[in-house]
């Protein structure tokens, strides 16, 4: 029996998504702002544990809604993000983008509460489909192409995940979501399927390829859900899977290095998502309570400040039509509000004391210390410096300061300003009163983020990274270039391989033809030589037995056949 507790809060957003295209311009903003708040209220009504189950295929018990502090935390931040994203977007985004964003978010919230693997998979695919629509809403030919590549990657990821889920279900007979380790084929497939969504190597390029092609508001929605749902899935299914430490560290460094090379402001932010998700993946790999708390807390903080940064870049794109660092600069003159918000977002992502990043990212470092992982700790610390370099300073510096580009755009419209104020406030509130967030974490938090020696250490680390940026500024000069990422493999590599194959086939056919012609000439020479000439020089009858044979050859054949007959008779 369906009972009200078994209805996922995601359904509210789906209903809203259906209503958005039907509503007129006065009611639409109300739906867009009210639906996430209702969703948030519904999320907090869900109690811990499974809220009822439905028999499926006479054997499997589907559990559409299962509550736990971890699930509630992710759903909460997703709902907050739908609210601020909607507030930011509702005046400029088309109805199909807004509707798609709401269903996409519904998918993410559905995954949060999915109590079994089948429900999880369904919401997972919902996200894949509607996030693709958002990429397409970028509206440019580039967005169309990137959307197709994005869809292929995510559908592929979905298939891999499905193979894994089916394998696990066959092996264990259970569709329960429970912690596992990547030990056999099925669990590896699940892990790979999730990691594709987390933008892990070697396919992380789907993210930096697609997100910057989306619209001004689309990137705000995209930045929030897909990768963080993957982090949640890892937290639920693979806590303490050691391979994730390495994967996470690679993502962290990959994000930094490519963001340093990048010229497009929104692509810099896209690479820093890879970098930040790397921190969370690494924390899931460490797997202690401190680490898992850190991953969850960091995901919460990250979603908000990354949305804030994408909003700032979005406003710049909206007002100037440009997002390349080489075209921008000096915008602080006329966009002081956006500049300040970008700085707050940039300080938060860098983990500057008194911002949200500091109170969450240092939990992950602390977990590495507690486990005695020296290399991991130093790499995380180096990465903190690197984040300040590429996102903390580089992004605001090249967009809002550096040279005077001559652009004098207006500052953000009021609704965008409100959304940005909201996000910036959350960044600072979590930074100053971390206990508010710590209270929501899955495990009890015995962690004090602020003590003098640590604050001094991080101030030194970050401020000297800043010094390094300005000392090395000549090396950081932006060029009108892109950098080849792994997407080269499927954007160019595949084509090259296909061309090589085609060439090889051509050559094979050519040599086959040559050999064929040669064989025919040789054979016809031999037939001419030993089996006789064509009847006449211009004879149509070219077949061997239609030819005139010399008497001698005929006599030879007849005697040969007769001898064979005689032999056969006596045998």
């Amino acid at each position: 029996m369906i009972v009200i507790e078994m209805l996922s809060p995601a359904l509210i957003l789906i209903v809203a998504a259906v209503l958005i295209p039907l509503a007129n311009d006065r009611i639409k903003p109300i739906i867009i702002l009210l639906a996430p708040l209702l969703t948030l209220a519904a999320i907090w009504q869900i109690e811990d544990g499974v809220q009822g189950s439905v028999l499926f295929l006479d054997y499997y018990m589907l559990e559409p809604v299962e509550g736990s502090p971890l699930r509630r935390l992710f759903a909460t931040v997703f709902a907050i993000m739908v609210f601020f994203g909607g507030l930011f977007a509702y005046r400029i985004a088309s109805w199909h983008e807004l509707s798609a964003a709401f269903v996409y978010a519904a998918g993410a919230i559905g995954v949060c509460f999915a109590g079994d693997l089948i429900t999880l998979f369904l919401y997972w695919e919902l996200m894949a489909i509607f996030s693709t629509v958002i990429v397409w809403c970028g509206g440019t030919p580039g967005a169309r192409d990137a959307g197709i590549r994005y869809a292929i990657m995510h559908l592929l990821g979905g298939v891999v995940l499905k193979v894994g889920i089916e394998g696990v279900v066959v092996a264990t007979g259970s569709i329960q979501i429970q912690p596992m380790l990547a030990t056999d084929f099925s669990t590896w497939m699940i892990l790979i399927g999730i990691l594709i969504n987390a933008a892990a190597p070697p396919v992380s390029a789907w993210l930096s390829d697609a997100y910057p092609e989306s619209s001004v508001s689309g990137s705000v929605f995209l930045s929030a859900f897909t990768t963080k749902t993957a982090v949640l899935a890892l937290l639920l299914l693979f806590p303490g899977e050691p391979i994730l430490i390495g994967v996470g560290l690679y993502m962290i460094m990959h994000g930094i290095i490519f963001a340093l090379l990048e010229n497009d402001a929104r692509r810099i932010l896209a690479y820093s998502i890879v970098n930040q998700v790397g921190f969370m993946v690494c924390a899931v790999g460490i797997g202690t309570q401190m680490a898992l708390n850190g991953a969850a807390a960091h995901a919460f903080a990250h979603i908000i400040y990354k949305a804030l940064l994408f909003m700032c870049a979005g406003v710049v794109l909206y007002r100037t039509g440009k997002s390349r660092c080489t075209d921008l600069g000096g915008l602080y003159r006329t966009m002081p509000f956006t500049t300040i918000c970008a700085i707050i977002g940039a300080l938060s992502i860098s983990g500057f004391p008194l911002t949200s990043g500091f109170t969450t990212k240092t939990m992950i470092s602390q977990a590495a210390i507690d486990e005695g992982y020296m290399a991991v700790y130093f790499l995380l610390t180096a990465a903190s410096a690197g984040v300040f370099l590429h996102a903390g300073i580089k992004f605001p510096w090249f967009v809002f300061f550096q040279k005077d580009s001559g652009l004098r755009p207006k500052d953000a419209p009021f609704n965008m300003k409100l959304a940005m104020i909201g996000c910036a406030a959350i960044c600072i509130i979590i930074g100053v009163f971390p206990q508010l967030l710590y209270g929501l974490l899955p495990y009890e938090v015995a962690y004090e983020p602020y003590y003098p020696a640590k604050v001094v250490f991080y101030l030194q680390l970050l401020l000297f990274s800043g010094l390094a940026f300005f000392v090395l500024l000549p090396l950081m000069k932006r060029t009108l270039t892109i950098s080849l990422d792994t997407d080269w493999v499927w954007r160019r590599g595949g084509k090259l391989l296909a061309n090589l194959l085609l060439k090889a086939i051509d050559r094979f056919t050519a040599s086959k033809d040559r050999i064929g012609t040669k064989t025919v000439t040789t054979l016809s020479y031999l037939t001419n030589r030993y089996l006789g000439q064509p009847h006449k020089a211009d004879s149509e009858e070219k077949s061997v037995f239609a030819r005139s044979w010399t008497i001698g050859t005929t006599a030879l054949w007849i005697s040969g056949l007769l001898s064979a007959y005689v032999l056969a008779f006596y045998l």
């Binding site: 030919p141 930094i256 003590y451 030194q460 000297f464 990274s465 010094l467 950098s483």
Partner: protein
Amino acid sequence: MTDPNEKQSDDHWLVRPATIRNIWIVAIGVLLLTLLAEFFIPTKGYFGIDDWPGFGAFFGFACCLLMVLFAKALGALLKRDADYYGGDDRD
């Protein structure tokens, strides 16, 4: 400190050479302060090496230097013209 050739319209207070010089002075002052703070707040290292005085400053600067140089080297290999994937991506 004002350059007579500089046009008045470009002269936002933030980009005046005097301001920039002052910013550098203040910034270097702050950097020194963070180093001096270690005299009053003893460092707390976890793995021995991070107990050294000024480790955070050195580590931050050195890591950034390495990362920028590495990125630069990799860039020489991976950078392509902005329209490398261009229009012929669509076939």
